[in-house]
């Protein structure tokens, strides 16, 4: 068990390191030199060659690559991720400011889409071949085929512009409120983006839950559970218990997909999250922010995978207690 833990953590450490190397290399492989990378276009174009050399020298960008890489690693270790070109503020601070909003959207929709998707999928599997199943399958596949930004726009049209139930813009109203009123305001403005992301995440979850339970229901232990006189509810519990394994994996790994979806949804709802920050940084060529956000995403994804690997034994006794002795 301890060895398993060490190996898992080691593997993910290696993956993380590789990603950091990639993050270091990517901008240096991209067309143009470092000046284009750190400075806005207009400024970069107006520089004389002498000024260019001076800037490169000051930022250590003409140092040999190993030297630069060491400096880059040291920066990461100190939590120092350069300075945003657009905002003129440290990237780390910017990311911290925005990441909370994205966590709210992604966390909320992950929980909702997992619960709804798994419940629907299990129900479909249990009643597979009936009109309940076919109806749910068709409906979920239709929802899944709607691009998130289209869903977001439609929700905006109906509930915000049409019915006026929810505000269409931002995470906060701008008025100074405190306590419960603040919570209410935040929730009210999160409803539509969370709903959009939930619809986007529902499809994969439903399909995995359905096919996992269909698979488990064909297993011999389910037949035995029936034969020994358990009720249908108890039989379903037996099978669902094992079908939860793939569902939990998809939930944690699906985090990545949802974070991706957040970029689009935050744009539709002008929500001040990480996705929108990345998008705006792309438009304004704010590469330091992009690089920092990219790093943050990698760390998140690796962590999600690590949690999944570490949580797996809690669900599966075969991993928790690998065969110690055999009779």
């Amino acid at each position: 068990m301890k060895r398993h833990l060490l190996r898992t953590v080691g593997q993910y450490g290696a993956v993380l390191f590789a990603a950091i190397v990639l993050n270091f290399a990517l901008p240096r492989l991209a067309p143009g030199d470092a000046i284009d990378y750190i400075l806005p276009d207009e400024v970069a174009a107006s520089l004389t060659p002498a000024q260019r050399t001076e800037i490169l020298d000051r930022f250590g960008l003409d140092d040999p690559m190993p030297e630069q890489f060491r400096a880059y690693l040291a920066g990461i270790a100190r939590g120092d991720l350069l300075v945003s070109v657009r905002f003129g503020r440290p990237v780390t601070a910017l990311l911290f400011e925005r990441v909370g909003w994205t966590l709210l959207l992604v966390g909320g929709s992950l929980a909702l889409s997992t619960l709804i998707g798994a419940a629907l999928g299990f129900r479909s599997a249990w009643r597979r071949g009936t009109s309940t199943d076919t109806g749910a399958l068709g409906a979920v596949m239709f929802l899944d085929a709607l691009p998130p930004f289209f869903v977001g726009t439609l929700l905006l049209l109906v509930f915000s512009v049409g019915l006026g139930w929810f505000p269409s813009y931002g995470a906060l109203s701008g008025q100074e409120v405190e306590g419960l009123a603040l919570v209410g305001q935040v929730l009210q403005r999160a409803v539509l983006p969370v709903a959009t992301l939930t619809i986007a995440g529902l499809g994969p979850m439903y399909l995995v839950a359905r096919s996992a339970l269909v698979g488990e229901l064909q297993e011999d232990y389910v037949l035995m559970a029936e034969a020994k006189g358990l009720t249908d509810r108890e039989v379903r519990r037996h099978a669902s218990r094992n079908a939860l394994l793939p569902v939990s994996t998809v939930a944690l790994v699906g985090l990545g997909t949802l974070v991706g979806g957040a970029a689009v949804v935050e744009t539709v709802f002008s929500y001040p999250g990480l996705g929108r920050l990345i998008y705006e940084s792309v438009l304004s060529r704010d590469y330091p922010v992009l690089q920092g956000a990219f790093l943050l995403l990698i760390v998140t994804v690796v962590l999600a995978n690590l949690i999944n690997d570490l949580a797996y034994p809690l669900l599966d006794p075969r991993v928790r207690r690998p065969r110690a002795r055999r009779a």
Binding site: L26, M141, D144, L146, K228, T231, E234, V282
Partner: protein
């Protein structure tokens, strides 16, 4: 290791000899699953889009980038979808956008598939370090937010058609790589591939000759899936204004619609809705097609669920319960219904198992034994169906033994030790919990745990092992636990389907010995289904021999084994060497069990019978008193002269 040894042939192999008369069209549709309808719908949706893409200029006289009218024009005859903020025709954009979306998605998916397939072949076939490294990269790629990666890559490498396709392919290859690799792993262990490797065939040859052709269908499914994701990603990228700036795709249209706040006026009806629905149509078409192909490849997804059964209270004990046989079956007919054909696995079987006796039911694989076992235990699953027959369990009259009729008695009056009992335990619960759960049917939780401990000890599982999970036990121990689970409520009848299959010889003998002991101790009637004729004939009190869904001979085990009458029984016995006595030549039985989609006239064993005569082809033999003195045999050549 499936539980049904009668695995019905697929519709393609089995010609419809006997059309299932009672089955309605609705039931056939149910058995076919949703995949077919989805496949057709998907093909229509996609086909429509492809037609629009190919014949784009037919639908509109305008180019998507020319100023064709006044800005913000409402729909009119000249511009059925109106114009956008610079006066470009929205219908032209929609129609030509189809082209762009399909070209980008299909080429990105094709490139990604080639990369993914190559990675799968290298990792799956050559294994080793290459595999370890490649698969870690795949894991990372799969977990990474696709869209973020696409955005960042597009930002670093500039915008353009080539970049978009390249970036999409870069993030999409990992999925097919993972799925196809696991398939390659299976294929490389196939006998002929192993043989080719052993004979020194170079890897590239084995891959090209044996692996690639077999992996193609799965690769096609993957292509559809990633094309689906590619459409969505391209649209998202364009929606963010990061696509190729010189071309207009559906995502680009929505980007401008959003940027010009089209949703604030009713312009959304012709500016936002059409491209959004077009995207949905393509993605849905691809998803439907993907599902249809997947369901076609995995019949499990197609099999309908058994109807849920509510457990009712056990009817009161009939007065003659103790004297009644544990099981009486009359005229049992079981069919497997498939669209277009049906297989009659059990064709009119009568069977009686007295309490405290062991009846062996023997025959080749595919003769209907397991179908009887599952029916009697009340767990026969669709497409299996009890067509006719009557059943009595310990004096209770059940009528036609369909699932719901037997369900109330499961676990209490009739219990099952299934085939492959090693898989009959749920890996997620301890052995004790699983036995106690069964015991709770007739007692409270504490008493159930006590009872479970007692039974597990009785079958020979030491108390220290009761809290073990199934994977921590050996095959023999799991088998014993399953027997304990079956007997925990003192059933009148135990159905044991190949109860010792998959165990080594010594363990098998121990388990069978245990069953014989328990039969007396619990006064339980045992119906033992097996093709291990020598063992069963030694243990059983009575023997019934099945062929092609019927019982062809039965009687006291000693009589049947010492003087078998039916040519089939004789053939079965002469296929095994006797342990004692003189040496006899072993004789195999040529031919196979008929496929039972249709019953021929006359004796069903005739095609393989060494003694068949002309009259056997005309008359169907019935069970009649055997010339051996005891028991019955269904053979025209063994009729007792009357």
């Amino acid at each position: 290791m499936t539980l049904t040894d009668v695995d019905p042939p697929s519709p393609a192999e089995a010609p419809a000899v006997r059309p299932a008369a009672a089955s309605t069209a609705a039931k056939d549709r149910r058995a076919r699953g949703a995949g077919r309808t989805m496949g057709i719908l998907g093909a229509i949706l996609l086909g429509g889009c492809v037609l629009v893409a190919v014949f784009a200029p037919v639908f509109t006289p305008y180019s998507p980038t020319e100023r064709a009218g006044t800005p913000f024009a409402r729909p009119s005859r000249a511009h059925p979808l109106g114009t956008n903020d610079v006066g470009q025709d929205l219908l032209a954009q929609l129609v030509f956008g189809t082209r762009l979306s399909l070209v980008i998605a299909l080429s990105a998916a094709a490139i990604a598939l080639v990369i993914g397939l190559s990675v799968a072949l290298v990792a799956g076939y050559y294994r080793g370090l290459a595999e370890a490294v490649l698969m870690r990269i795949v894991d990372l790629m799969l977990g990474f937010p696709f869209l973020m990666l696409v955005i960042v890559l597009a930002a670093f490498f500039g915008r353009g058609l080539g970049t978009t396709i390249g970036v999409l392919a870069t993030v999409l290859w990992a999925r097919p790589a993972r799925v196809l690799r696991s398939q390659v792993l299976k294929l490389r262990e196939l006998d002929h591939v192993l043989a080719a490797r052993a004979m020194g065939a170079p890897g590239t040859w084995a891959i090209a000759r044996h692996i690639v052709p077999r992996i193609t269908p799965l690769a096609a499914v993957q292509f559809v899936r990633i094309a689906n994701i590619a459409v969505m990603l391209e649209a998202s990228l364009s929606f963010l204004g990061l696509g190729d700036p010189s071309r207009i795709s559906w995502g680009t249209m929505l980007y401008f619609a959003n940027a010009r706040s089209a949703f604030l006026t009713d312009a959304w009806k012709w500016w936002i809705l059409p491209p959004g629905l077009a995207l949905t149509a393509v993605i849905l078409g691809l998803a439907f097609l993907g599902y249809a192909v997947e369901e076609w490849a995995d019949p499990r997804l197609r099999r309908p669920a058994p109807r849920p059964v509510r457990r009712r209270a056990l009817p009161p004990e009939p007065p003659d319960a103790a004297a009644a046989p544990a099981l009486r079956l009359e005229g049992l007919v079981v069919e497997y219904r498939l669209p277009g054909s049906s297989v009659r696995a059990v064709d009119g079987v009568d069977l009686t198992v007295p309490r405290g006796r062991l009846v062996g039911l023997v025959g080749e694989s595919g003769c209907g034994k397991t179908s009887i076992a599952l029916t009697v235990a009340g767990v026969l699953r669709p497409p299996g169906r009890v067509e006719a027959g009557a059943m009595w369990l310990a004096g209770h009259e059940l009528g036609r033994p369909a699932r719901p009729a037997v369900a109330p008695f499961r676990g209490r009056t009739v219990a099952l030790v299934p085939q492959a009992a090693m898989n009959a335990l749920n890996p997620a619960y301890t052995v004790l919990a699983q036995v106690a759960e069964a015991a709770r049917l007739t007692r409270n939780a504490d008493a159930a745990t006590e009872r479970a401990h007692d039974l597990l000890e009785r079958v020979g599982l030491d108390r220290s092992r009761h809290d073990a999970f199934p994977h921590e036990l050996s095959g023999g121990m799991k088998q014993r636990a399953v027997i304990a689970m079956a007997l925990v409520n003192n059933p009148a009848l135990l159905v044991a389907d190949e109860p010792a299959s998959g165990l080594d010889v010594v363990t098998r003998a121990q388990v069978l010995k245990l069953l014989v002991e328990l039969r007396e101790e619990f006064n339980v009637g045992i119906l033992m289904v097996s093709h291990d004729l020598p063992t069963v004939s030694r243990m059983a009190d009575e023997l019934a021999v099945m062929y092609a869904g019927r019982i062809v001979e039965r009687g006291p085990a000693a009589t049947v084994s010492s003087s078998p009458q039916h040519p089939y029984t004789r053939a079965l016995f002469s296929a095994f060497p006797p342990l004692y006595g003189e040496r006899r030549p072993l004789a195999g039985l040529p031919g196979e069990v008929p496929d039972m989609t249709g019953t021929p006239e006359g004796c069903c064993f005739l095609p393989r019978c060494p003694e068949g005569t002309a009259q056997c082809a005309e008359h169907e033999p019935l069970l009649e008193a055997s010339p051996a003195g005891a028991g019955e045999v269904a053979c025209l050549l063994r009729r007792r002269p009357s």
